[in-house]
Amino acid sequence: MLVMKGIVKQFPGVRALDGVDLDVRAGEVHCLLGQNGAGKSTLIKVLAGAHQPDEGTIVFNGKEVRPGSPIDAIRLGFATIYQELDLVDGLSVAENIYLGHEHSTFGFVNRAAVRAAASEVLTRLGHPEIRPSVEVGRLSPAAKQVVSMARALSHDARLIIMDEPSAALAHDEVANLFRIIRELTAEGVAVVYISHRLEEIREIGDRVTVLKDGRTVAVGLPARETPTGQIVSLMTGRNVEYVFPPKTGRSAGEEVLKVENLTAPGVFADVSFSVRAGEIVGLAGLVGSGRSEILEAVYGARSASGRVLLDGTPVRRGVVGTVRRGMGLAPEERKAQALLLDQSVTANITLGTLPEFAKFGWLDRKRERSEAKRLAEMLDIRPPDPERPIRTLSGGNQQKAVLARWLLGGRKLLLLDEPTRGVDVGARAELYAVIHDLAKQGIGVLLVSSEVPEVLGLADRVLVLREGTVIHQGEAAELDEHRVLDMIMNGRAA
């Protein structure tokens, strides 16, 4: 149905795609795998008409096509869910879904029709509770992701491209997504699916194409049968798997953080726990269960009643103080909350600890650069040029830079909100090792992740949240994935 051959895409200074081949059959789910920066997003943007390829051909249903703009691609029947949320905050859900192809007569929008159609698509996606008239800017990231999907579905597409659609979704949402994908493929629609989560590929994928450094290294591998080891080694050139470092070698020390009866009306209530030096505490829960909000409250970035003590002394509201006292937060929405897109990787890394690099306000730029370089190498940020604007890095590499920010300046407590979102398998293992190392050095870590195995694999202790209340608190060793899922979905405390 779709054949891409020898696609080359050059950015100034980077050859993002260097001869990529892809063939997709009608009715299949074709998975694209590759490390961060391998070129997956670039490839699908070429397909979606958002980028023009420098070389190569695209053949669709036997005819050569050349989508010169997103409009062309949409007309060809390609619909795309982009990796970065691409919604207009000021417009309603319905208007976003039908943006560019509104139901209209003589330019007048038929608002009732648009709303009804939007409602239908959302219901089909299993989210009738998202009201079509609500402004998108008021939605949570997860709900926005749903709207993005609804938008792709609203086109009568023959090919749907999904760039990490599950990154912002929780477990049950992913199941829902898969149900939709199966419905689509049953109708003969082809799906190109990008994800860093191998187990999803196993579940939904039919065939897999692996990219590495802008080249295709494997085409059409069977998604279910190919051994994990083989896929990982194709992607990374190494033979590692999703490994969690052993939890040995670190010993919990003094209590760094103590949270007592933290409450924010309507978001979370009566949350109490503590984190000791060298300990990793995980927060598990559904999207929307209030985990991010708890991190923000601990960090001083949002108001809540109750007490937060760092090293035994109360933390006052306001991020300035908490950072000075040794906390750091890697927020979940990196573009909106963490990055200065126009600035260099270095400037982004040192942003949180600028005073460490300054005497009387005067920056020691040499030291700043060398520290940034050290961290970039340590986390394998690619390309390894810390002077590049961070805008030009792939999503996963940007995430690494955000983490690098808090590896500086002697943190006592790190708050990590979805630290591996959008990070590839190889880098993930490195990040896990880094987090483990940090704990080993005596830093307390509070970790939020929507991937239960990640929480269980990394954390010493786990808090399970449901609708803003802690329903379970205990050693990670005593839990398994099944029990945690059971708790967060059914609310049954173990």
């Binding site: 997103p70 691409d86 929008v109 949002r302």
Partner: protein, 335 residues
Amino acid sequence: MGEPTTDRPAARTAAPALSSLRGFGEMRHLGLLGALAILVVVGLVTRPANFATASNLVSILSLAATIGVITVGATFVIIGGGIDLSVGAVMALASVWATTVATQSFGPVVMAICAILVGTGAGLVSGLLIAYGRMVPFIATLAMLVAARGLAQRMSDRKTQLIQPENSFIVELSTTRVLGIPMLVYIFALVVVLGWILLNRTTFGRRTYAVGGNPEAARLAGIDVRRHTMLLYALSGLCCGIAAVLIMARTTTGSSTHGDLYELDAIAAVIIGGTLLTGGRGTIVGSILGLLIFTLITNLFILNGLNTSDQLIAKGLIIVVAVLLQRRNLKERAP
């Protein structure tokens, strides 16, 4: 710049109660209406005999009409993520062009059409420079401001051009009254209503929000962002052309000095009305309310005969208070 606090909970609890009122779309303008109400009260108290008269209301609306039409155009441009500094100058140019001896010889209808075409043309040029020349809107329209004023001065030889008696139809827009209200107020009202419909009920309007709020998303959704951007400036120019007709009617002249600093007034009205300078958000109703606040302030000063210096100081303070009031109101429902 203020820190964006993530006050989601408030939004959540307030949402249901408010949603019932939403259809009126008035909620967000509560602060503005409050400010207007206060000004009206001040007017009633300080000048009971003069303020609430029909003739004073008509005079307020006539005063607001010219810049009001421009404000409608400016609202579109600013929601679309741009800015148009050239409005006053383009209006002046259009008024001069329409009152040259040559144009006047064709009669009043041609004069009006001429003004509108000149305005639209100038807007189109700015739009081309911005959309296809990729110039920053601030600079492109600043250049247009400067050039249009220069051209207007050249065309008029820096003289004020009177509308000839045979073309007094134009002047009558200001002097003829229907139901006690001058024609130009009706024109103003018509432009506001058409602008509202265009913004809220058509694909063009809805896409304006997308182009201003997230141009990349708009592009990916298949909107021709460049063409749309260009059209927004043309629309602003069109409004300037209509405004030129109104100012010709009011002053009976075309002049290169018309509309001095209108750009600041129009932008201020739009922003006080709640439209973000960054684009993607805003309403026509808000802009018009913002404009009426400014006009009312001026009118009150005129009625009370305050001296200029005190007026300026008072104006500054009133703006601050009005905005802080509005802000307070917004905060209670902030997303």
